[in-house]
Symmetry: C2
Subunit: 93 residues, 2 copies
Amino acid sequence: MAQLLTPAEISTQAAALTGWSVDGATLKWEHRFADFLAAMKFVNALVEPAEQMGHHPDIFISYNRVVITLTTHDAGGLTQKDFDLAQRISQLL
Amino acid sequence: MAQLLTPAEISTQAAALTGWSVDGATLKWEHRFADFLAAMKFVNALVEPAEQMGHHPDIFISYNRVVITLTTHDAGGLTQKDFDLAQRISQLL
């Protein structure tokens, strides 16, 4: 099982990400695309990385807006898996 | 602009839908699929009907769980467009 990161590790890793914020025990990211189809295209692009990593983001789609929330449910908070997936998702933009 | 339905019209139409509930000014639907890929396949199947109807659901995906929320933002509540889209989404299952 993935180990929970310490608050210091979370701060350091969060500072290295662009567009993500720590929100309680989660990492959050929000972006507005041109329209619904562009938003869906982005969401579809993250399916393969998520499957490969065996780690799945919570995804909210409201027309052109996408909100991604990451946490490691079985560890009860943020682990390295969340930061690795956040990095991969950022690279899809 | 689509007209708001009356509470009586909402009750009648909601009773004719399977799996949807009225939640304030929205229609809500939730379903658990086999896994993330099955959930994403369903979400992709609703893209074309939503685009055709010019009406877009709010979509929440958490691994195998999909929550759909419908409302007509510019009318400030439920209109015929929401019930028509709910019907179409139900038929995708």
